[in-house]
Symmetry: C2
Subunit: 315 residues, 2 copies
C-alpha cells in the first residue's frame, strides 16, 4: 500500500495550475521514481528509441464514480488501477510494456501529482516508464493511460486463435478485486490485506510473455469478469468453452470469481502442456492453472455443464 507522499502533495485545498503541476510532476518523475522518465513533459511529444518491428498500443480510461468510488478509496488509486488496466492489455497480447503517456482530468482541489505518482509506481512494477502526458481541469476526475509495448518475437497473441481441444489456463486466482471492494464497503480499513487485489492489482507481463513464447493460441486479461471475457474469446475464435473450475482468491465467492472483473490475471488457450510448463518454469513463474477446455459449441460458455451465468462488468 502506498500512501500519498506528503512531500509531493499540494498543501491542503490548494488548487493546482497546469504549468505548476506539470513542473512538479516532471520533477517527481525525473527525481525519484524507477518507472518514470521526464522526457515528454517539457516538449510537445516524447521521443522513444525503438527497434524495428511491431509496436503494441492501447489505452484505458478510469473515471471517478465509475471505476473508483472516491468516498471509499484515495483518488490516487485511480491512477494505479488505470495504469494496470492499460499495461495488462499489452501483457495480454504477450507483449512487454515499454512506455506510457498519461492524461489526467481533475477538479482544482484534487492532488494530480499523487495520481501521477501512482501511475508511475504501477509502471515500475511492469518494467516501463511514464514518458509524457497531459493535465486538464474537469468537474470529475478521470485518468487515461495509453500504453506502448513491444510485440514478442513470435508475434502477438490475439483472441482469435483458440481451437477445440485446447486447454484453458489462468495465471492466478480470481475474484480478489470484487472481494476487496465488498470488504471495503463493509468497513474494512484501507490497509486491510484483502484490499490489495483491488487497490494494487498485478500486471502479468512475465506470464503473458511465457504463454506467448510457448505457443498460446489465444489470450486476454480478465478485466470485465471471467464469464464475460471468456464469451469474448469464444466469439472471436469461433469456439465454445467448458469451464470446469474457477480458482478463487482467499475469501472470494464464486460469483466474484466468475463475474468480478478487474483482476487482470491472464486467460489463455494452449495445446501443448509440456511446452507451456517448460516456458513457465524456465522463467521461474508459478505454473498457470487449468480451468477448462475449448469446445466446438460456437459462442457457448458452460460452467460445469450448464450455461455460465451472465455475470460481469458493464457500465
Amino acid at each position: 500500500m502506498l500512501p500519498p507522499n506528503p512531500t509531493t502533495a499540494p498543501r491542503g485545498g490548494e488548487a493546482w495550475r497546469e504549468d505548476v503541476a506539470l513542473e512538479r510532476i516532471a520533477d517527481l518523475l525525473g527525481a525519484s521514481l524507477p518507472g518514470a522518465r521526464p522526457g515528454g513533459w517539457g516538449d510537445d511529444a516524447a521521443v522513444l528509441e525503438r527497434p524495428a518491428g511491431r509496436v503494441l498500443v492501447c489505452c484505458d480510461a478510469g473515471v471517478e464514480g465509475v471505476h473508483l468510488d472516491a468516498t471509499l478509496f484515495p483518488i490516487a488509486d485511480l491512477g494505479y488501477r488505470t495504469a494496470v488496466a492499460a499495461l495488462s492489455d499489452v501483457a495480454a497480447m504477450g507483449g512487454r510494456p515499454s512506455a506510457v503517456v498519461v492524461s489526467i482530468c481533475a477538479p482544482g482541489d484534487v492532488d494530480v501529482v499523487a495520481i501521477e505518482r501512482e501511475v508511475a509506481e504501477a509502471c515500475a512494477t511492469a518494467g516501463c516508464t511514464v514518458v509524457g502526458g497531459d493535465l486538464s481541469k474537469a468537474a470529475v476526475t478521470s485518468v487515461t493511460v495509453c500504453a506502448l509495448g513491444d510485440e514478442p518475437g513470435h508475434g502477438a497473441v490475439t483472441r482469435h486463435g483458440a481451437r477445440p481441444g485446447d486447454v484453458l489456463y489462468v495465471t492466478g486466482p480470481l475474484g480478489g478485486a470484487a472481494m476487496g471492494l465488498r470488504r471495503r464497503r463493509a468497513g474494512a480499513g484501507l490497509e486491510d490485506p484483502s484490499l490489495r487485489w483491488f487497490r494494487r492489482p498485478t500486471v502479468r507481463a512475465d506470464a503473458g510473455a511465457a504463454a506467448a513464447r510457448s505457443g498460446a493460441t489465444a489470450m486476454l486479461d480478465v478485466s470485465d469478469g471471467l464469464a464475460r471475457d471468456l464469451r469474448r474469446l469464444a466469439a472471436a475464435s469461433g469456439v465454445g468453452v467448458d469451464l470446469e473450475s474457477v480458482p478463487l482468491c482467499d475469501g472470494a465467492t464464486l460469483d466474484e470469481g466468475l463475474g468480478g472483473g478487474e483482476d487482470y490475471e491472464l486467460v489463455f488457450s494452449h495445446h501443448d502442456e509440456a511446452e507451456l510448463d517448460a516456458a513457465f518454469s524456465s522463467a521461474d513463474l508459478v505454473a498457470p492453472l487449468a480451468i477448462g477446455v475449448v469446445t466446438d459449441e460456437v459462442g457457448l460458455v458452460r460452467y460445469r455443464g450448464a450455461p455460465a451465468p451472465d455475470l460481469g462488468w458493464r457500465h
Copy 2:
C-alpha cells in the same frame, strides 16, 4: 463542416452500451473512413508495423465545459479538436502522425460514435489512422487522444534549440479559433465560415516536416496562445523573443492573435532563410511568415519593444 451522419447516430436518447458502441465504431471505422483502421478494437491492443528508429508519442485531453461549450457546438466537435491537438503535437516535433488511440468518456445519451467519427476525420486529414481505443461512461464528456508519430530522419525538433539571431516564423495567421468562438457566442450559425478555425483546425504536419528538414532550431504549436507559447520556447531555449508582427486571420483582433490559442499553427526558429524557403517551396507549401527574432534577453518576450501582455489559455 461535417454534420453528424444520421445513419451512424444512435436513435434519439438511446443510451449506448460499451460493447454495442464499440462494434458500431469498428464497423464505421472499417467500412468508410480513410483515417480509420479497426485492428485495435477487437483485441486488447493494436499491433503496428514499425520501421526501426524513433517513435513520437503524446496525448491530449478535451473536456466538455473546459475545451468545448456543448451548448454552442456539437459535442462531436470535441473529438475533431482534441485529435488535432494531439496530432499537432507530433507535427510540432517535425514528425509524421502515424496512428492514434482514442478514449471517450461520456454520459449514456451522448453519441459516442459521432465523436469517434470526427476523430477519424481529423486523423484522415493528417494521413494517419485510428487503431484502437476505449469507451467509458462518465457524467461529463471527455476525449483523450494519444497520437504516435515517426520521428523525421534528421531528428525531432524540440523547444530547446533556439539561438539569439534566429528568425521566428509562424506557419499561418493566428486568432481564428478565438474569433470563431466569439462569433458563435454572438449568434453566428454553426456553418458560418468564420467558425472553421475553431471547429476544424488544421494539423500542419507538412509544414512541420519541411521546417524540421530545413534545420528549424526549435518549434512548438500555438495551442495556448502565441504569447504564452513563445514564453515556453524562450524559457526552454534560454533565450528571449522580440515579436515584431502577429499575422491575423481575417476578422481576428490582436488580443485574439496574441492570446487566443488553439490555432495549431506552428512557430519555429530558424537561422537560414534560403534553406527554409527551398524546403517549403519544394514541398509546395505556402511560405511561413516571419514574426520576430530570437534575442539574448533570457525568458523575455517583447512585442514591438514592450513586454508582451500575459495573454493565453489557462484553465
